[in-house]
Symmetry: none
Subunit: 423 residues, 2 copies
């Protein structure tokens, strides 16, 4: 079954934003076994959008549009799609009520524009928006199924997962199942080398690698007449990947993130955790606290950006800072030890590094980061050299810290081993 | 003059990579005053690529293709473009020599595939590749100028800057300029209402609104014979927006983010800042520390997720937590005051709220957040009710906190006023 993507937005045509929605939708559709031959970006313009939509409907079975469902004047995706599909807009009472409640909850009055969002094409399958006010919708025509999703990524992804995945799955007579094997602590090139023979020889299941910051995901996809048969095809391939990547696999569950796997591991071992961050400035804690229910094990953490803060809040020695500098193995070690003591945590992680763009030297270039993990008195410190801009270096450091936490807890409590030089 | 982008690559269709080339090219073309109505992504398939290219040449003056110039079998952009433009491939001696030298420099022998890269369509304008082996090219036909660039971003951007920019600049006589007015503390619908008459009456310049989390951006775009005239057209519209949105405008500079404007404001007033975060768990600090050079004013901050941490690290009273709860105006206030004292900061911001998915009650639902900003002894506390999932609530809280910091500093130091009920 063929799917095609149309992303609507002047800001995409102007290059003001990168089209992450297209990448997200494309990856999800591929995972569902849908073939995608075209992606188009078009502005908030009725004639051009109508033309692009007609072309897409003529050559694909499913057309997914994103963007242009907002309350403003230039949002006209819904109006245009309705016209192309020969539908009139009618007031959708449930959506109207949802908008009323949304604003009432906030003690606010909806404007005229907000009500516009409750006008939907007749006969549309309405997709609830649990992250905003604009509902999504599906228009089923003889030519194609036309799916309209809101542009903000947080709204689009939630709606896709909740409503579009089940809809698309029901359309295909073949069942497509996939399982993602998520790996940390192994570089992208190395991971690809390690599965090259599997990729070259693939038929059903197929496997594909996806590089994420500090992680590699390998998706195994099989299609079959029913779910049971598809899962049976997937199983031996996942087993083979487990043999090859061993403890570097942190999950085979779609929903589990790296931070969630670390939090689960700490909870299973009844360990409290804390973070002391310099260059990442709170990003590691923020990612951990993204895991709901973490309050049982994460009580407090600090951002010690200045040397003085490192000394005062974590007890890093003045002599250490003078002799080795703030970005050093020794400082990272003392930060982690200090955090463990100060915040009475079983696991304490410290990050110190040079995120750039300034502050680099020949001996200590931008991208140099030290991460220390303290588990019950035992400290492991690693040196990393990340590339990219300030944001990229900081994001890489956070992923590496999560990976290191996981490794240290596993080594300490489960006595497992990790391959050398793979981290 | 109209330009259109075609990005070629199966990895884009599968969502394995995000299309940063399209964003880069789109932004550059907009800056050169070229109008872009369409971007297309297509795979390494001759028929579909030929179809897309023909469509593009029929409606645009310039077509820029990226990707598919490599040495492998499935790279066929050059072959397809040559066919569509009616050209045969001939050996380009200079490119052949460059490839020979490229490999000789590295002590390697080119393979048969590498020589393929020196076969170019007859009459093509050749663009040298200083970051790789595949040359780019321009095919000038009666219908359109067709520009072929390599896919790897490092090769594409260098070639674009060096060779394509001068080529395009020589082609265009019209110039397009735009300026973005960035607003915080005003909702999207309200902002849209406030400029509805301007949007309805727009011709040149045009204006468009873009909703971001906790922010609204309004882009004013004008086209004219030269840059000076275009800027002259933009100026009165930006002035009008300044009159309407007043101090809610935090910048009219393309590069400045909300966090950067807050950091700049603090620096200008020689103020040190700190953050005490509960539900946001470090996100606010992380966003502030994303601003390079912040070390002059941000020394340390804390994440106080548990009640005990709020008491121990910030001196929040036990009685306050018992009487009002951790998510309350009073707790937020004491957190901010405590942080200001503990970390000797001029400006201290505290966030406490219920991010969900659990922990909400009828009286204190998920999404309820209190933010306190302490400026030199004066505390302002606001109550917010955000919607969406855990991540959305936390992101909204961080944007609101930045907005509040900015407002409090401005009110205290610049004695400015803000419209009521707009925050």
């Amino acid at each position: 079954m063929k799917v095609e993507l149309i992303c609507v937005g002047t800001e995409l045509l102007l290059g003001s934003i990168v089209n992450t929605n297209a990448a997200y939708l494309a990856e999800k559709c591929a995972g569902l076994g849908l073939t995608c031959h075209f992606q188009t970006v078009v502005g908030d313009n009725e004639d051009r959008l109508a033309m692009v939509l007609q072309t897409a409907m003529g050559r694909s079975d499913i057309v997914i549009l994103s963007g242009g469902l907002g309350p403003t004047e230039d949002d006209l995706t819904k109006e245009t799609a309705a016209k192309v599909c020969g539908r009139t807009l009618v007031m959708h009472e449930e959506s109207r009520e949802r908008i009323r409640l949304f604003f009432a909850d906030r003690g606010m009055e909806p404007t005229e524009n907000n009500w516009k969002q409750a006008m939907l094409p007749e006969g549309a399958v309405v997709l609830e928006n649990h992250n905003g006010t604009a509902p999504g919708m599906i228009l089923e025509t003889e030519q194609a199924k036309v799916i309209l999703l809101p542009g903000p990524p947080g709204e689009l992804t939630l709606m896709f997962e909740e409503s579009v995945v089940p809809y698309l799955a029901a359309l295909t007579s073949q069942v497509i199942c996939s399982q993602t094997v998520k790996i940390c602590g192994v570089g992208e090139s190395k991971a690809e080398m390690m599965v090259k023979d599997l990729i070259d020889g693939q038929t059903n299941p197929t496997i594909a690698t996806y590089a994420k910051t500090g992680e590699v995901h390998i998706r195994v996809t099989a299609n079959a007449q029913d779910r049971k048969t598809a899962l049976k095809l997937i199983k031996p391939m996942v087993k083979e990947l487990k043999t090859r990547f061993g403890n570097h696999i942190y999950t085979t569950d779609e929903e589990t993130t790296l931070e969630k796997s670390v939090v689960d591991l700490a909870m299973a071992n009844k360990l409290t955790i804390t973070c002391a961050e310099s260059c990442t400035g709170g990003m590691l804690s923020a990612r951990l606290i993204n895991v709901a229910g973490i309050s049982d094990i994460y009580k407090s953490g600090v951002i010690t950006y200045s040397n003085k803060a490192k000394r005062r809040l974590l007890g890093v020695k003045k002599s250490t800072l003078q002799k080795h500098g703030a970005v050093s193995e020794k400082t990272a070690e003392e930060m982690a030890k200090g955090a463990a003591v100060m915040f009475k945590a079983d696991v304490a992680v410290a990050i110190t590094g040079i995120a750039g763009p300034d502050g680099g030297t020949e001996a200590k270039p931008v991208g140099l980061v030290y991460i220390a993990c303290h588990v019950k008195g035992k400290v492991t410190v690693r040196e990393y050299r990340f590339s990219g801009n300030r944001t990229k270096v900081r994001e890489s450091a956070v992923s590496a810290a999560l990976s290191l936490m996981r490794e240290c807890i596993l080594v300490y409590y489960s006595k497992v081993t990790f391959g050398k030089g793979e981290s």
